[in-house]
């Protein structure tokens, strides 16, 4: 599920892949929370390779967002495919997540 993790000037960029569903939630949640805890709470999640997500996947995104906000950080979502985007929009989570198609734009937002 976790594809790569890199750090760009204090911003963590994590790329996920495949299905983000109940079976993968414990591992992904743990990884995201550990990253927020060890870093600055500024997190970009690259979902380009995530082709299916359910509400348990959404809950992982929200828990990373909560943890990031507790450190005055933020979470940005990058490269949503149409299926994932429509799920996010259906559940109105675009109201709390900044969503980008361009990594540079996401980095600029989280740097400010």
């Amino acid at each position: 599920m976790i594809l790569t993790h890199r750090n760009h000037h204090g911003i963590d960029i994590i790329a996920l892949s495949g299905r983000l569903v109940i079976a993968d939630v414990p591992e992904v949640r743990q990884k995201l929370l550990a990253t927020v805890e060890q870093g600055n709470g500024k997190l970009i999640l690259d979902l380009a390779e995530v082709n299916f997500m359910d509400s348990s996947g959404l809950s992982v995104l929200v828990s990373a967002f909560k943890a990031a906000r507790a450190k005055n950080g933020d979470v940005a979502l990058l490269h949503l495919n149409p299926t994932v985007r429509s799920l996010i929009e259906l559940t109105r989570l675009q109201q709390i997540f900044a969503i980008f198609d361009d990594e540079a734009a996401a980095l600029t937002r989280l740097s400010s």
């Binding site: 569903v21 109940i22 929200v62 906000r69 799920l87 559940t91």
Partner: protein
């Protein structure tokens, strides 16, 4: 001509993908966006059976009945666990507000998603079997 296939797994998270794969195979003639929403609704209902009806306990059956007709697809997700209070079906979405942490909910989106993906949703318990019955009206005949 209406045809039915029943798909059954054990109540373990890692088996849910098998139901998705089987459902997508059976629905392969539908448009991709249609398959996506039917699959999502099924996965949410199966998640609830595994997580709530069986409280996360493996070793129990969860099965899905797919009824394919020329103008609709009916999906019934069934379990023998604890029944759901049917009022949960009507719950509205909590609007996430960036200024209000109380709205950053980690739960309670599954049934809302199901209602939005499908045209009709009903829940009933009969002879110890809980059934979440969902119907999707189709423009394209999935069996043609």
């Amino acid at each position: 001509m209406t045809r039915v296939i029943r798909l059954e797994i054990d109540s373990r998270p890692e088996c849910i993908e098998l139901l998705s794969d089987a459902l997508c195979g059976v629905c392969r003639r539908l448009p991709a966006t249609e398959i996506d929403r039917i699959n999502l609704a099924m996965v949410e209902a199966v998640n609830n059976a595994v997580e709530h009806a069986y409280r996360g306990e493996p070793g129990h059956p969860v099965w899905v009945e797919l009824e394919l007709a020329s103008d609709h697809l009916r999906v019934r997700v069934c379990d023998r666990g604890q029944p759901m209070d049917p009022h949960h079906l009507e719950a509205e979405l909590i609007e996430p507000d960036p200024a209000d942490p109380a709205t950053w909910s980690m739960r309670s989106r599954g049934l809302f998603i199901i209602r939005n993906c499908m045209d009709e949703v009903r829940y009933e318990t009969r002879d110890g079997v809980n059934i979440l019955a969902m119907n999707r009206r189709l423009a394209n005949d999935p069996s043609a």
